[in-house]
């Protein structure tokens, strides 16, 4: 929790994420959202979202969590990673002073979600871990109101605050950017071990997890690396963890690379299936098959076109044909 003792030097250490920024008076943390003013660490973004939208839950992407519903989605400025391909860099790589921020305290987030007929809230677009206090408080009120909470996150957070957040989180789409520490360090300014630890803690705390892996041509499209990721997921999460391979488009500081070829994504999907994962999807490619099939009998359970669900044949989370239990949060 916060530092309650008298500050002698005026310096503070943020312990929210593994970067553990040591900040003198007037310094800003690596995430841009937390600053030391007069020897106290302040969050500049509590209740001040710079993005508020209502999205289909499939856009997160969450395919095994209340399919076909709308999700109230919020974000603030800042991020503790600095991925060179960031798709939301115009808010994630900006200081909170430089974005247009609304005034939406946690209780109003929940009110707005209910008013919008959303039965879940996503903390998304930038990085919910860096607006930790806002995410936790809104999630806590949402829980009491019967709404569910989803984190769309890169999972770069220390264990203690993560466990605290998990208590009020129902599901997460965890972005595993590559199964390579070098990639994390050189392209994202993070490290792989922390993200894998986040996966383990979330699973232990009962958060329903889906994984996204954005495949960037020439950087993390090596079949061996993809196979290692899938093996790790099967070993640590079981075969039922949904995995989304997502297509890269040139963005931010990586405009020199071409979009991921569809063939690369299909190869990745084949590898994941070979390694035993039951639910593998390819994202950001219009027209590609994104249906959910029963891993036992192969029946089509959920049909999708883009972000729309066109048919959902699940019966209380079971396959209607063979009665197999399908992993997910269905109501």
């Amino acid at each position: 929790m916060g530092g309650n003792a008298e500050t002698v030097t005026g310096w503070v250490k943020c312990t929210l994420c593994p970067k553990e920024c040591e900040l003198g008076p007037g310094d800003r943390g690596n995430c841009r959202a937390r600053v030391n003013i007069d020897g106290k660490l302040l969050t500049l973004v509590y209740g001040k979202p710079c993005a508020v939208h209502i999205d289909p839950i499939e856009k997160k992407p969450m395919f095994h969590f209340l399919p076909g519903t709308s999700i109230f989605s919020i974000a603030t400025a800042g991020c503790n990673l600095h991925c060179k391909f960031c798709q939301n860099w115009d808010i994630s790589q900006k200081d909170p002073e430089d974005t247009e921020n609304g005034d939406l305290p946690p209780d109003k987030v929940v009110q707005a979600a209910r008013y919008s007929v959303c039965n879940s809230i996503a903390y998304t677009y930038s990085e919910p871990m860096i607006f930790f206090e806002y995410t936790r408080d809104a999630s806590s009120i949402a829980r009491q109101a019967g709404l569910k909470n989803i984190l769309v996150t890169a999972g770069y957070i220390s264990e203690k605050p993560l466990r605290e957040l998990c208590k009020v989180t129902d599901g997460a789409n965890l972005d595993i950017k590559a199964f390579s520490d070098d990639y994390y360090r050189n392209v994202c300014d993070g490290d792989l071990a922390t993200v894998l630890k986040t996966f383990e803690v979330m699973k232990e705390e009962g958060v329903f997890l889906e994984i996204t892996n954005l495949i960037v041509p020439t950087l993390n499209d090596d079949p061996g690396m993809i196979r290692d990721l899938c093996r790790w997921l099967v070993k640590n999460g079981g075969p039922d963890v949904p995995l989304h391979f997502s297509r890269f488009f040139p963005m931010y500081l990586m405009r020199n690379l071409y979009p991921t070829p569809q063939k690369t994504l299909e190869t990745a999907k084949d590898i994941a299936k070979e390694e035993g994962l039951h639910f593998v999807y390819v994202g950001n490619v219009p027209g590609v098959d994104e249906d959910t099939n029963c891993p036992n009998c192969g029946a089509v359970l959920i049909s999708r076109v883009g972000y729309s669900v066109t048919a959902n044949k699940l019966v209380d989370g079971h396959c209607p044909d063979c009665n197999a239990v399908i992993a997910g949060v269905w109501k």
């Binding site: 929790m1 916060g2 530092g3 003792a5 008298e6 500050t7 002698v8 030097t9 310096w11 503070v12 250490k13 943020c14 312990t15 929210l16 970067k19 920024c21 040591e22 900040l23 003198g24 008076p25 007037g26 310094d27 800003r28 943390g29 690596n30 841009r32 937390r34 600053v35 003013i37 020897g39 106290k40 660490l41 302040l42 969050t43 500049l44 973004v45 509590y46 209740g47 001040k48 600095h82 060179k84 200081d95 909170p96 002073e97 921020n101 005034d103 930790f132 206090e133 220390s158 203690k160 605050p161 300014d189 500081l253």
Partner: protein
């Protein structure tokens, strides 16, 4: 003359070495500048007055964060 030939060869080699070193340094400088420009420093300074004004106007939060500690006297 044999002596002259040797001298010219030496000159060529040092010229190539100089170009190689210059290119290496140029690539190194570009790499460092690009890396530094994409990774923000942990200790970026804020304009405290400006931030406090925005907090007072309600455009930023100013709520005390959690998960931090006072650093011991150095």
């Amino acid at each position: 003359m044999p002596g002259e030939k040797t001298k010219r060869k030496k000159l060529d080699l040092s010229f190539i070495a100089a170009i190689a070193v210059t290119l290496f340094l140029a690539v190194a400088v570009i790499h460092v500048v690009r890396t530094q420009s994409t990774m923000i420093s942990s200790n970026q300074k804020v304009d405290v007055k400006h931030v406090q004004t925005l907090i007072n106007q309600g455009r930023l939060s100013g709520r005390e964060a959690e998960h931090w500690e006072v650093m011991p006297k150095q």
